[in-house]
């Protein structure tokens, strides 16, 4: 990106739509944490960001994560900090929630539940899709 795209630290260039698709459960593999870190770093570039949680990715947002005994960091509170980075579009697959017996009350942040068709539509609108 050239320097004149930033004036007084405000991004002046075209804004692209970025979608991050999260499909993996937290802790068992590093994908969930890595994805969140990419979102936070990418947030510095002032683009139009959406996060999608589907399949086991919905478990990343599950309330009540207590990681004390595993000596791993509980990173679920970070999802609540996303709005401070202007990342507010959190979409969750209704089908994935149903398959897991979960409801919105089980989640740590407010989200928008979407059908598969709605998610497909959203995906078509993106400039960049990153899947974890």
């Amino acid at each position: 990106m050239s320097e004149d795209m930033f004036e007084d630290d405000e991004y002046q260039g075209d804004i692209k739509k970025f979608m991050y698709v999260n499909r993996k459960a937290p802790y068992g593999t590093i994908y969930a944490l890595e994805s969140l870190e990419v979102v936070l770093i990418g947030a510095a570039f002032d683009q139009d960001v959406s996060l999608v949680f589907m399949d086991d990715g919905v478990y990343q947002l599950k309330k009540g994560q207590d990681t004390k005994a595993t000596e791993m960091k509980n990173f679920s509170p970070t999802y609540r900090a996303l709005e401070m980075y202007d990342v507010e579009k959190l979409y969750v697959s209704q089908d994935s929630m149903n398959e897991r017996g979960l409801t919105e009350e089980d989640l740590i942040v407010p989200v928008e539940l979407k059908s598969a068709d709605q998610l497909a539509e959203l995906m078509e609108q993106q400039d960049v899709i990153l899947s974890f």
Binding site: A25, G28, D56, K62, T67, A69, N74, S76, E99, R100
Partner: protein, 100 residues
Amino acid sequence: MILHTINKSPFEKPTLESCLKHCKPGSSILLIEDGIYAALKNTKYSHLVTDALSEHRFYVLEPDLNARGVQDQLIDGIGKVSYEGFVDLTVEHDTVSAWL
């Protein structure tokens, strides 16, 4: 008797399903890491465990269950074990088969 350990979610891989096809009655199955998601009620895959409970002993590694925040959804009849309990289970069995 074998202690089988499963570390992947039933939604991600059919490992538990495969394991159960190859388990003699009386085997023990310990769910660890993402494998704990198979131990939960009201999911698409709960039946894998509930159908097998009469033939096998099921355990879940408690730290992994708690880390994922799903401790309230555990199927009845599954034992929770600590890391020490995990060690005890391995000692009590002839062999450990760690399915990956």
